[in-house]
Amino acid sequence: MPRSVPRAQSLSTDEFIKGLWKENPVFVQVLGMCPALAVSNTARNALAMGLATLFVLLMSNAVISSLRRFIPKQVRIATYILVIATFVTIVEYMIQAISLELYRALGAFISLIVVNCLILGRAEAFASRNTVGRSVLDGLGMGVGFTLALLCLGAVREVLGNGSLFGVQLFHDGFQIWVVMILPAGGFFTLAGWLLLFAKLQERRAGRRSLADEVAR
């Protein structure tokens, strides 16, 4: 998917799309995994976590972008974290009000969204230097890409580890579930699998082996 380089301040949908594939936060940038893996053992939890992160990303990008000329360089990281923490606290209370059961399932990991390198990274790299419109699109794209990635993890883990998807049983009783998938180890394996798939696909697309080096450390 070729990415056009905008010269003017036009709102290009590329800002949004880049977050889905080319710069997908989880699979390509390998960012923000911490909270992702622990609670993506079912599709529903993964979706909830993704949407919560999307909300925080969107709001913090918007606020930081609109205040960008107001914040001196010296205190910028502190202010970014303050803003992000505010929205994480807000989303925490919102989830508690919507569904106590979901809140208990996600636990402290909602609060941990605040140390998700993705959000701080976008604030520093993008929102602090671009208009509100573009920052919102960027946040939206990255957030949706993140949610989709989490969904991939959660869906695979739930289908293989519980025989269901979003709580709906898929297989008859004879299906032997792979309990390890629901457990943390399964999270590691599933993410490794998806990363491999992504890397292979990107390698094919780019036709170059160097992309593997980008993903490697």
Partner: protein, 228 residues
């Protein structure tokens, strides 16, 4: 200055600018948080109360209403008012005619994976536990989490004997876990094959909790009856 790119460095950013930014943004954030908090608090309290009620009615099937009591540390149970407290709580259940049905008590203990919390219902009439409800558990799905779903296991708690000695100070036969299929006495808990540790954990935490609370509760029977 309408183009993307690095922020142009301001010359000598004054302390005033830094304070202005931090304090200004801090106040804005504070305002946002407090607003959302106030808006959501009533909803959250209601959700919590409803969830608790459902758990209480689950373990005390005949109950239609409940009253929360706190233990004052000596020997009295006092009705909980609006105050915040860290005293242990018990929940008394009453039927339509305001007669005391039983008491719901919370117990916790270490399971296989992490701490398990359960609510159990105690009936004065039967001198036994008449139901349990798992409040929180992180046991292995498909294995340990059978403590929540296995009907044979849950049957243990339909009438789990915890009768007291004549002087009402201790339980005559403490709850004990046994291997699956070996249950012979009403105070024994039949384990789940394949989820031994989780089922033993439940039995142990109930044993400890009942040994601690049932004598105290029994001695305050009148306090509970009066509140009905």
């Amino acid at each position: 200055m309408n183009r993307p790119g690095p922020i142009e460095p301001t010359s000598a950013p004054s302390t005033w600018h830094m304070y202005r930014a931090m304090v200004g943004i801090g106040s804005l954030c504070g305002l946002l948080i407090v607003t959302v908090f106030q808006l959501t608090r009533p909803v959250i309290e209601r959700n919590k109360a409803e969830a608790l009620q459902r758990a209480i009615f689950d373990v005390l099937p005949d109950a239609r209403s409940s009253t929360t009591f706190r233990f004052d540390g000596n020997s009295r149970f006092v009705i909980l008012g609006e105050e915040q407290t860290s005293d242990p709580l018990v929940y008394a259940g009453y039927d339509e005619s305001q007669r005391l049905v039983g008491l719901a008590v919370e117990a916790r203990g270490m399971g296989y994976q992490d701490v398990i919390r359960v609510l159990y219902g105690y009936s004065f009439a039967e001198d036994a536990i008449i139901g349990i409800h798992v409040l929180e558990s992180k046991e292995t799905p498909g294995l340990g989490d059978k403590i929540e779903r296995d009907p044979a296991f849950l049957e243990n708690f339909q009438r789990l004997d915890v009768s007291l000695s004549d002087d009402l100070t201790r339980i005559v036969h403490p709850i004990e876990p046994v291997k699956h299929g070996n249950k012979e006495r009403p105070w024994q808990v039949d384990g789940i094959t394949g989820a031994t540790i989780s089922s033993i954990a439940i039995a142990d935490m109930l044993s400890k909790s009942t040994a601690h609370w049932i004598p105290k509760i029994r001695q305050s029977l009148d306090d509970f009856r009066k509140a009905g």
